[in-house]
């Protein structure tokens, strides 16, 4: 498992534009910075905490939680694919802040041994690039798969 210091160090080196602050709970961090998918800049929030016994249900302690702060994601209920938003864990309090689903947990694509700077952030770039296409056409070109309906929601 990578410690928070190692995560913060790797983020500072690879993504120096991101600012880091303490997270909302113990042993957690939040990074906020700008990322492009294609050309437009998005403000991105990444929250991550180390697993703590008894608090394992919090999503950010299972995986880095990525939300897009601005410009707001635009739900499209008429989209041919992935309506109303593609590859997110729906946040029912505010759909536009739904955490992105960037990897398949069942395939072990991410673990606490991974560096967020080398996985979560470039995967967010991929998601943003495909989101731009989805927003333009209502079609998702990035591939992926889904877990069963309603088995995971957030918020």
């Amino acid at each position: 498992m990578k410690g928070l210091l190692a995560q913060a160090q790797a983020m500072r080196e690879r993504w120096p534009g991101f600012e880091v602050t303490s997270g909302l709970g113990p042993r957690s961090l939040i990074w906020i910075g700008d990322l492009k998918g294609l050309e437009r800049t998005f403000r991105v929030w990444i929250e991550y905490g180390l697993p703590i016994p008894g608090r394992h249900l919090a999503l950010f302690r299972q995986m880095p939680v990525v939300r897009i702060l601005s410009p707001r994601l635009v739900p499209n209920w008429e989209a041919r694919d992935e309506a109303p938003l593609p590859h997110v864990y729906f946040d029912l309090k505010d759909l536009t802040l739904s955490p992105l689903c960037l990897f398949d947990p069942e395939r072990g694509e991410w673990s606490h041994a991974c560096l967020i700077a080398e996985t979560t952030v470039p995967w967010t770039v991929d998601w943003l690039a495909c989101y731009e296409g989805w927003e333009a056409t209502g079609e998702w070109y990035g591939g992926g798969r889904h877990l069963a309906p309603e088995s995971r929601r957030y918020g």
Partner: protein, 414 residues
């Protein structure tokens, strides 16, 4: 950190709008496979006109492309989207005083031939040319000409003769051959751009891909070689066509005027977007200057002053004002298209408004396919501040991004 070592035209680091503009131009221009078909037809027509028994046997001195075909700026037809108009000059060895109707009728007879012959049911005598209509939508306009002066090569007369209106017959002086050379001289090819553009055009040509698969060798030496000025001119002509499609009773600003003004400000090394900005501004300024003095714009062939490119447009000040408004709108749209803060959706909507819905839809779809495939296959780099870079050269310092699969819930009602 990723380090991208090169920034080629239309490469991974090119602005998004530049890629979209190039791909739009490729969607509306004469594709390489159609170019090859046009060349074959051009050769076939020349041979046919000179066949034994033709009324023009032994009278054809030269056959050459004119207009957009001669400067590599052919786009889909003006008021329809199903084909291309190819303009050819047939320089005839006839006496300089031959009446216009006689010249045009001779050309019509030579092309039409006998009942049952190759072009018999495909040709139509027009006022200034004879048109051959092909089933795939291509039109070949063959304009007969007669050389005026052996010392001033290709300065020629062409003829206007409307059947049934003989008092309107007239002879017009022109030198489209010299203009095409003048245009090409002023719009030199930027090799790096031309290579990148030609590669995209070939890859986008489905018919060519099929021909190659069947082992038909392409004639690569005859293709490619475009400058950004020519691509920008094609896009401006397309924009004009889209805007004038519903204005069925109005004449359009002539392509020759647009080509002439394009050549005046062409500079190699510009991006397509920059060339579009400069060329549209120059045309706009030319029209506004004419209007400021209460005149209609007057643009002549710089290689043949008697040939006025604006002889039939603008007919009046309101026709001129209409295109001034169009060009102002185009400049606003172009600035929005080039703005990196605009979403792909906004850029797609702008492309549709500027160049038509079908090419815009195809360009956005193809772009998304490339992005999606590169993300799914991992064949992309990630820029320093983000940004998926497709087609960037492999760089040793670039970290390999671990493969991943997008995941998540579906909305329950779906």
């Amino acid at each position: 950190m990723n380090k991208i070592v090169s920034d080629l035209p239309l490469g991974a680091m090119a602005p998004l709008a530049e890629i979209l503009l190039a791909d739009t131009a490729i969607k509306v221009e004469l594709p390489p496979s159609q170019y090859m078909i046009a060349i074959e037809r051009y050769e076939a027509v020349r041979t046919y006109i000179e066949r034994e028994g033709s009324p023009l046997q032994g009278f054809v001195a030269l056959f050459y492309p004119q207009g957009s075909m001669a400067i590599g700026a052919t786009i889909r037809a003006k008021r329809r989207d199903d084909g291309y108009d190819i303009d050819i000059i047939a320089e005839l060895l006839l006496a300089i005083g031959t009446p216009p109707a006689v010249v045009l009728d001779l050309m019509f007879k030579a092309l039409r031939g006998e009942p049952g012959s190759r072009y018999y049911d495909m040709v139509k005598r027009q006022t200034r040319c004879v048109t051959i209509y092909y089933a795939d939508g291509m039109h070949l306009d063959v304009t007969p000409s007669i050389l005026v002066d052996q010392q001033d090569l290709r300065r020629s007369n062409i003829f206007h003769a409307k059947p049934g209106v003989p008092h309107d017959d007239k002879t017009l002086e022109m030198n489209s051959h010299a203009f095409a050379r003048h245009f090409r001289d002023l719009t030199p090819v930027d090799f790096l751009f031309a290579s990148a553009y030609a590669k995209r055009a070939w890859l986008a040509d489905a018919a060519l891909a099929k021909a190659e698969a069947e082992g038909v060798p392409p004639h690569s030496s005859e293709l490619g070689g475009k400058s950004t000025s020519v691509v920008a001119l094609q896009l401006l002509k397309r924009n004009r066509n889209i805007l004038y499609q519903p204005r069925t009773s109005l004449r359009m600003p002539p392509s020759a005027m647009m080509s002439c003004l394009t050549a005046e400000v062409a500079v190699p090394g510009r991006s397509i977007g920059a060339a579009l900005g400069v060329i549209s501004a120059h045309i706009l300024t030319s029209l506004e200057q004419a209007r400021a003095s209460g005149n209609l714009v007057d643009v002549c062939n710089p290689k043949c002053r008697a040939e006025r490119f604006t002889d039939r447009w603008p007919e009046n000040l309101s026709a001129q004002d209409l295109y001034i408004r169009d060009l102002r709108q185009f400049q606003v749209q172009l600035a929005m298209l080039m703005d990196p803060a605009r979403s792909l959706k906004e850029k797609g909507d702008l492309l549709a408004a500027m160049f038509g819905e079908q090419p815009a839809r195809d360009v956005i779809r193809d772009y998304n396919l490339r992005i999606g495939q590169s993300v799914q296959s991992g064949q992309r780099l990630i820029g320093a501040g983000g940004g998926v870079l497709v087609g960037a050269p492999a760089v040793a310092e670039a970290p390999v991004v671990k493969p991943h699969t997008f995941y998540g819930t579906r909305w329950p009602s779906r």
